[in-house]
Symmetry: C2
Subunit: 396 residues, 2 copies
């Protein structure tokens, strides 16, 4: 392939790992290889590194480090939160409230609980993917034991009013979890300011290694582990600690906390150029998600009359990486449940295009996308029966 440029704009699927993070990880692959549970120098070095990372992650989200449970993915953190908290509360009730646009790791975890006798209510979202805090409150029942609403959505970038939702949920005396995988490291996340009881995050969303994630759970809350085994993570997440991954997560958290404001400023400027340029140059394109309440590095659209996957492939042949919905599901070729929940018709939802800007994204990259995308859209529309029908009916 001989694209003029290589432009990675799929940072919502996964980010690169920052060189400083790689440098921090390396000694834990090379020299400090002990098991943190071991009673000797090698174990001590590994254990201290894990505890340093716990403090770094705690600092990023303003949480007590002791309350952080390291996991191998955001998906694992979400499963542990949903299943672990629900099962620990089962004697009080079996009703769970989530939003309709949760990540599959939350949505499908609740479906598994449904098979075990739990009831799940999905709260709708508006056309911007926003959840109404009052709507959440209205769906809380006497037997509601858990509410989970994501902080930000990876597909459409919308940031929820989590503090408002949490206040109403806590007033009703119910536990509140937020999936902050897409937001943590990219916008301020403060567990006290948000007022939540549990929060999931993942390093691969903010320049940490894949396989590094965490669940924060407020002290004193019972949690049934997904796995049984050793004493690691207070017995809540047994298995030998992935020391290099954990160290990398810690370093990425430290850097994200330090650079968050400057990163956001850099992202927002370029993102707005991308949004304005794309809406200007591509007809029948819709910005999905909220215009203002959105992740700073995130721009998402539906391009009418064509399919997202076809765009991805032609963009890829031009050296441009983007996605069409969530990476966890985009290969499954279904219209996104998020876009459907926002009220978009199925045929429009299929034209989803998600851009995630990164720390290395330049003005030149944005210009390149704005140059390459319109002819790709034109070419695909020329092959599109939907577009032919639209033109024929004279609405074009």
């Amino acid at each position: 392939m001989a694209a003029e440029r290589r432009v990675y704009l799929d940072n919502t699927a996964t980010t690169a790992v920052l060189p400083e993070v790689v440098d921090t990880v390396l000694p834990y692959l090379r020299e400090v290889y002990g098991n943190p549970q071991s009673w000797h120098l090698w174990g001590d070095g590994a254990r201290e590194a894990v505890e340093t990372a716990r403090e770094q992650v705690g600092k990023l989200i303003n949480a007590n480090p002791e309350e952080i449970i390291f996991t191998a993915s955001g998906t694992e953190a979400n499963n542990l939160a949903i299943k672990g908290l629900a099962q620990a509360q089962a004697s009080k009730g079996r009703h769970i409230v989530i939003s309709a646009i949760e990540h599959f790791s939350v949505l499908h975890a609740t479906r598994t609980l449904e098979k075990a006798g739990y009831e799940v209510t999905l709260v709708p979202v508006d056309k911007y993917a926003l959840v109404d805090p009052d709507e959440v409150a209205r769906n809380i029942r006497k037997d509601t034991i858990l509410v989970s609403v994501m902080h930000a959505n990876g597909e459409v970038g919308t940031i929820q009013p989590i503090a408002d939702i949490a206040r109403k949920v806590k007033e009703a005396g119910v536990l509140f979890h937020t999936d902050a995988v897409a937001s943590t490291g990219n916008i301020p996340v403060d567990v006290e300011a948000l007022g939540v009881d549990a929060l999931s995050l993942a390093g691969s969303q903010f320049y940490g290694p894949k396989g590094s994630a965490a669940l924060w759970v407020r002290k004193g809350l019972r949690l049934i582990p997904l796995m049984d085994g050793g004493v690691q993570e207070g017995g809540r997440r047994p298995g030998t600690e992935d020391v290099p991954g954990i160290v990398g997560l810690g370093k990425a958290a430290e850097l994200a906390a330090r650079d968050m404001a400057s990163r956001a400023g850099q992202f927002t400027k370029l993102r707005d150029k991308l949004i304005d340029g794309l809406l200007d140059k591509v007809s029948h394109a819709i910005l999905t998600g909220h215009q203002v309440q959105r992740l700073p590095h995130h721009a998402s659209f539906c391009i009418e009359f064509i399919e997202g996957e076809a765009m991805l492939m032609l963009l890829s042949s031009q050296g441009i990486a983007v996605s069409s919905g969530s990476a966890c599901t985009s290969r499954a070729l279904k219209a996104s449940h998020v876009l459907i929940a926002m009220g978009l018709p199925h045929e429009i939802a299929q034209g989803s295009l998600v851009f995630g800007l990164g720390l290395d994204t330049s003005q030149g990259d944005i210009d390149y996308v704005l140059e390459k995308l319109p002819p790709i859209v034109d070419r695909l529309r020329q092959m599109s029966p939907l577009y032919a029908k639209f033109v024929k009916e004279g609405r074009g």
Copy 2:
């Protein structure tokens, strides 16, 4: 600390990562950072690397690569096997048979299933920690749906007659899982020759990275996932793939397959010197586990009248790393359930000492241990009420 030498003999807790493995992992931390689920060049590179690793792991255990499920730990692989297979078979029955010396990730997983209405039978072991295949067969009932016996025990090194056990279990029409975390990469593991239906392994036991492990499950077998979410690993283990960890596991598997015989020869020679030397120089020391049917890099003992933890600390101050039982539990300060199941009295079991030789272990390391350990044992015995009583009673 100014020890004369640093001697890491805790390779049963975790191994170092081989430099060749680190070199193979590095590009996947630095350049090839795509999400394997993404539809573009970055995703393609990551996906191809994951599939290469799947083939390398398949080759090591003579399994179809498609049947390998990557996990983040041996503990996760064991939980997925035990809970996933048992739950998928629940309509046929709810009885499970395991050995009394399983790792806590198997033992405690079955305890969790007991709370959900399953019944669990523990098959005893003899004084060498060997499981009798006939004893397993005798415990199989009409409602038995799963048998799990570990391939090798990490605390005492004993290798079980898995092929014989599997034959009897399969004759009874029951699924058979083996926890091969301690054995895979260290001795030949061939899923067809063993005749098992599912097998767990972990990279941190054979010079791969921590956080890299796998469960192999024979094609066509149903498995209820521990987690819900995306489509990764055929939906059986959702969550963004830990590409660097998986790549490292693959490379470690390739090297283990290539070098297994020479490594075993090197280990056995030094291990036998350690065993002979220790039994010669330390009185009232017992070799635990089987003399011949044991892991080539493994030597374990009970040193009477003293506690393992005290020995670990004094050895550590001499620069020597060993363990006292399983790393997953050794900080919990309990006598090992493995040693108790082998019939050792509680007070003797507390004097457990486990040596795991590594690729860098030298004759000089063994000599150093044989020089430093005896005076440590003497010193601790001088402080031991048990030893004082023993001497006073004239049995010394």
